[in-house]
C-alpha cells in the first residue's frame, strides 16, 4: 500500500512505522497527544496491540505510549 490520504493510526498493522500528519480530535485530546510528543511530523512505530486488540502501543520519541483505537482513529498518519 502506498501512502494514501485518510489513513489513521488505528488502521496501521503491527510493526508499521509512520509519521503524524495531523489530527481530527477535539482540542483537549489533540493538545495532550501533542504534549506527549506526538507532534505533527513525529515518527512512530506500532509496537503491539493489547490482547483484546485495543489499546495500541506505539513507540514515539523513544518511549512507549498506549492509546485507544478510538483516539488513534483521529490521528492522521502517513506510512514510512
Amino acid at each position: 500500500m502506498t501512502t494514501d490520504a485518510g489513513e489513521t493510526l488505528s488502521s496501521l498493522p503491527l510493526g508499521q512505522k509512520g509519521r503524524v500528519l495531523g489530527f481530527a480530535l477535539p482540542p483537549e485530546h489533540r493538545q495532550r497527544l501533542l504534549e506527549m510528543g506526538l507532534t505533527v511530523g513525529a515518527q512512530f512505530e506500532v509496537i503491539r496491540f493489547a490482547p483484546l486488540g485495543d489499546p495500541i502501543d506505539i513507540k514515539v520519541r523513544g518511549y512507549h505510549l498506549s492509546l485507544r483505537k478510538n483516539e488513534a482513529a483521529g490521528v492522521l498518519v502517513a506510512r514510512l
Binding site: 495532550r32 504534549e35 512507549h64 498506549s66 492509546l67
Partner: protein
C-alpha cells in the same frame, strides 16, 4: 524547594533518598491530592524543606494532581508558598518527552536544578548524554544520577545548596506573532511580573471549553485571551499546537547537541522482550491472571492469619477488661464499644499492608501499566478505565484497600465511579453471612452445592458493580469520555525501600483518618444497642436488645422490610450489622438468645433459625427469605469502615451518603424481587 517531574522518572526515589523518614503526608485543602513534604540537609548542613509535587506531564493540566503541581509552581496554591528552587527530575532514557516539562518550567522564572536520572539505563540503551552540553543548552545546573544506587545524590545536594541560584536565562522562543500576543496579554494579568509571561502563555493555549472554566481570572482577562486567540488564528497560528511544536523543536536542538546515540542500532531491550510475553495474546492473560490470583490469595487467605490473631487479641483484651472491671456501663463501653471498635479498625491492617506491598511492586516494576493495557478493553465496556481493575479485584477481599487503591486512577470521574461500585464486590466480611444463610437454606446439601450458591452471590456482586458503573458513567457523571493515554515505562526492579515506605505511610493514614471515624461510629452503635436499659435488671440480653434503641429501630423498620419477608428481629440484625456485615451473625445470636461456647460454630444458631416461626406458625426462614437476605447483603453497604474511607478519599460526605443510599436501595429492591417475585412464581 520543590521536586517535580514526569510520572515514572524516579522522582519519588530521589525524594525518598534525600529525605529518608523525615517525611510528612497530608492533603492539599479541598482536593484529594496528597501533599508530601520532607526535610533534608544541604551540603553545609542547612535544613531544607522539600515538597514532592505530583508527577505531571505538562503544566497544561489534565488531572487534579497536575493542577496542584501547576498551582504550586505559579504560586496559586493558598497554603503552599511558591518554591524558591525546583529540582526537575528527568529520565535520561526518555529524554525528549521528559524535557517537555523542563521546557515549561524554564519559563517560570524559578531557579532550576535538573536531576538527570537513570543515566545507566540510557547508556544500556546506547544513549550517552553529554552533561556539559546539556547544561549549556538548558542554561541550568544538570546533575547526572542513578537514584536507585545513590549515585549523584551528593552532587545534587551541592547543586541545590549553592545560593542564590539564578533563575533560568534560556527558554523556548515562541513564533514572533505568538510572543507578541503573550506579552500583550501578560501586561493585563493581575499577577506578579515574573510569572506573567508563563500565565499568559498557559491561558493562550487553553482551548475554549477550558477557558470558560477558568475561575482564577476575571471575565475581562478571558475575553482578552479569546480575542488574542482569534487574532492568532487569522495570522495562521494555532494557539493549541504552536507552543508545543516550538518547545519540541527547541528540545530537538538540545538533544542534537547533548545526545550521543551510538550507531542508532541497538538490540531489542529486555523490557521489549518481556513485553512480548507479558502482553502476549495468550501468555499475557496467563501471567496476568496468575499474578492477580496470587495477590487475591494473599489478601484473602494469607492475611487471614494475622487477622485472626488480631481478632483473638481483641477478644482476649475485651474479656480481660470484662473480668477485671465491675459490671457497669463503662465496662460495656470499653469492651463492646472501644475495644471492639479499635479491633475493627486494626483488623484491616494486614490486608492493607499486603495490598500495598503488591501495588508498590506492580507500580514500581511498571507492570501496573501493562495490567491496565490488558484490561482496558474489558473495563471500557462499562465505561471504566483499565486501571479500575485492580481496585475492583482487591475489593473482593475488602473494599477498604480496594478504594484506597483507586488513587492510581488519574481521571476524577473514573476514580469516583470505581469507588462507588467497589463495595458491591463481595468482600470477606460477607462470607459469615453467606455461610449462615446457606446453612439455614440447605442444611443437608453437599459442600459443593453450598459453594455453588456462594459463587452465584460473588458473581451477582460483580455483575451489578459493572452494571452500576456503566449506569453512573452514562447518567450521573456524563460528559466527555476521558481519553486513555498510558505510558508504558520500561520494566524495572522495584525499590524495596520505596515499597516499605508506602506501606508504612498508607497504614498510618488509614489508622489516623478512617480509624477515628470507625471508632466513633462503633461507640455510637454500641450505645444504640445498649440504651435505654431494660427496667428489669434480670432481663436476658435478648430482651435488653429488643427494647434498646436498636431494637426499637428494628421494630420501626418492620413496615419497610415486611415486603422482603423480614420481621423486626431480622430488622435488628440489619441495624446491628450496619457497622460491619459480619456482626449480623453475632446480633442474630443475641436476638434468638443462642448461647454458643464456640463463636465459630454456627450450628446452634442455624437450628434455632430453622425452627423460628412466624406468628401464623409458618417457618420464618423460608428459602426465599434466605436467598433474599443473601442478595440484600451482596448489595447493601453495611460497612462503616468503607463509609469512612470513601469519605476520606472523596473529601466529602456527599459521595459516601449517596453510596449508602443507592446501595441500600438496590439491596431492598433485590431482596424484594427475590421474595415477591419468587412468591409469584409459586416458591415459598
Amino acid at each position: 524547594m520543590a521536586i517535580a517531574g514526569n510520572p515514572n522518572c524516579g522522582k519519588s526515589t530521589i525524594f525518598n533518598a534525600l529525605t529518608g523518614l523525615r517525611q510528612k503526608v497530608g492533603n492539599y485543602p479541598g482536593v484529594t491530592v496528597e501533599k508530601k513534604t520532607g526535610r533534608f540537609f544541604g551540603s553545609h548542613g542547612e535544613a531544607m524543606e522539600l515538597l514532592d509535587l505530583p508527577g505531571s506531564y505538562s503544566l497544561q493540566v489534565r488531572s487534579p494532581d497536575e493542577a496542584v503541581a501547576r498551582d504550586v509552581l505559579l504560586g496559586r496554591q493558598a497554603d503552599t508558598p511558591r518554591p524558591d528552587v525546583i529540582i526537575c527530575v528527568v529520565d535520561a532514557s526518555n529524554l525528549e518527552r521528559n524535557l517537555y516539562l523542563v521546557a515549561q518550567m524554564l519559563e517560570l522564572n524559578i531557579p532550576i536544578v535538573v536531576a538527570l536520572n537513570m543515566v545507566d539505563v540510557a547508556e544500556k540503551n546506547g544513549v550517552v548524554i553529554d552533561i556539559m552540553a546539556l547544561r549549556e543548552k538548558l542554561g541550568v545546573p544538570v546533575v547526572a544520577m542513578v537514584a536507585t544506587k545513590g549515585v549523584g545524590l551528593i552532587e545534587l545536594r551541592q547543586a541545590v545548596s549553592r545560593s542564590p541560584l539564578p533563575p533560568p536565562t534560556i527558554w523556548t522562543q515562541m513564533p514572533i506573532v505568538l510572543e507578541r500576543e503573550v506579552m500583550g496579554l501578560a501586561k493585563q494579568l493581575p499577577v506578579a511580573p515574573d510569572i506573567a509571561r508563563a500565565e499568559a502563555l498557559l491561558l493562550l493555549t487553553l482551548h475554549e471549553a477550558a477557558l470558560d472554566e477558568v475561575t482564577h481570572h476575571d471575565r475581562t482577562v478571558i475575553q482578552a485571551t479569546k480575542a488574542a486567540q482569534q487574532r492568532l488564528g487569522t495570522a495562521g497560528i494555532d494557539p493549541i499546537s504552536a507552543p508545543v511544536d516550538a518547545r519540541y523543536d527547541w528540545i530537538g536542538q538540545v538533544c542534537a547537541a547533548a545526545h550521543h546515540t551510538g550507531d542508532g542500532h541497538y538490540a531489542t531491550s529486555i523490557s521489549d522482550k518481556l513485553d512480548a510475553w507479558l502482553t502476549h495474546r495468550v501468555w499475557g492473560w496467563v501471567a496476568f491472571l496468575g499474578m492477580m490470583a496470587l495477590m487475591f490469595f494473599c489478601i484473602f487467605f494469607v492475611a487471614k492469619v494475622p487477622m485472626d490473631a488480631i481478632t483473638n487479641g481483641t477478644d482476649w483484651l475485651a474479656k480481660w477488661v470484662g473480668d477485671h472491671l465491675p459490671e457497669s456501663d463503662l465496662r460495656g463501653l470499653l469492651t463492646d464499644g472501644v475495644i471492639a471498635g479499635v479491633g475493627g479498625v486494626v483488623v484491616f491492617l494486614p490486608q492493607i499492608l499486603i495490598l500495598y506491598f503488591f501495588l508498590g511492586i506492580l507500580e514500581d516494576t511498571g507492570y501496573m501499566a501493562r495490567a491496565a493495557f490488558i484490561m482496558d478493553r474489558l473495563m471500557s465496556k462499562a465505561g471504566l478505565h483499565g486501571k479500575s481493575f485492580i481496585p475492583m479485584l482487591s475489593s473482593f477481599a475488602c473494599a477498604i484497600p480496594g478504594i484506597m487503591a483507586t488513587r492510581t486512577i488519574e481521571n476524577r470521574k473514573d476514580r469516583l465511579v470505581t469507588i462507588l461500585v467497589a463495595p458491591l464486590m463481595s468482600c470477606s466480611a460477607r462470607v459469615p453471612v453467606y455461610t449462615l444463610m446457606i446453612a439455614v437454606l440447605m442444611p443437608a446439601h453437599s459442600a459443593l452445592q453450598k459453594a455453588g450458591i456462594m459463587l452465584i452471590m460473588y458473581f451477582l456482586g460483580g455483575a451489578v458493580a459493572f452494571g452500576m458503573a456503566w449506569l453512573f458513567k452514562k447518567k450521573l457523571l456524563k460528559g466527555e469520555t476521558p481519553m486513555l493515554l498510558l505510558e508504558m515505562p520500561p520494566y524495572r526492579m522495584p525499590s524495596w525501600k520505596g515499597v516499605a515506605l508506602r506501606m508504612w505511610e498508607r497504614s498510618g493514614l488509614f489508622l489516623r483518618r478512617a480509624g477515628t471515624v470507625i471508632l466513633a461510629l462503633s461507640v455510637l452503635l454500641w450505645a444504640l444497642a445498649t440504651y435505654p436499659k431494660p427496667s428489669d435488671p434480670k432481663a436476658t440480653p435478648s430482651e435488653a436488645l429488643a427494647q434498646s434503641f436498636a431494637g426499637r429501630m428494628g421494630h420501626a423498620l418492620e413496615p419497610a422490610i415486611k415486603p422482603l419477608g423480614y420481621d423486626w428481629k431480622i430488622g435488628i440484625g440489619l441495624i446491628g450489622s450496619f457497622a460491619a456485615r459480619e456482626v449480623f451473625v453475632g446480633t442474630m445470636s443475641i436476638v434468638y438468645s443462642v448461647e454458643s461456647k464456640d463463636k465459630e460454630d454456627i450450628t446452634p444458631l442455624r437450628d434455632t433459625m430453622t425452627n423460628e416461626k412466624r406468628s401464623d406458625g409458618t417457618p420464618m426462614f423460608t428459602p426465599l427469605v434466605c436467598i433474599g437476605l443473601m442478595v440484600f447483603y451482596v448489595l447493601a453497604m453495611q460497612c462503616i469502615s468503607t463509609v469512612a474511607v470513601v469519605r476520606r478519599e472523596t473529601n466529602s460526605w456527599r459521595w459516601p451518603l449517596f453510596q449508602i443510599f443507592y446501595m441500600t436501595g438496590l439491596a431492598w429492591v433485590g431482596a424484594f424481587l427475590v421474595y415477591q417475585g419468587g412468591k409469584l412464581l409459586g416458591f415459598h
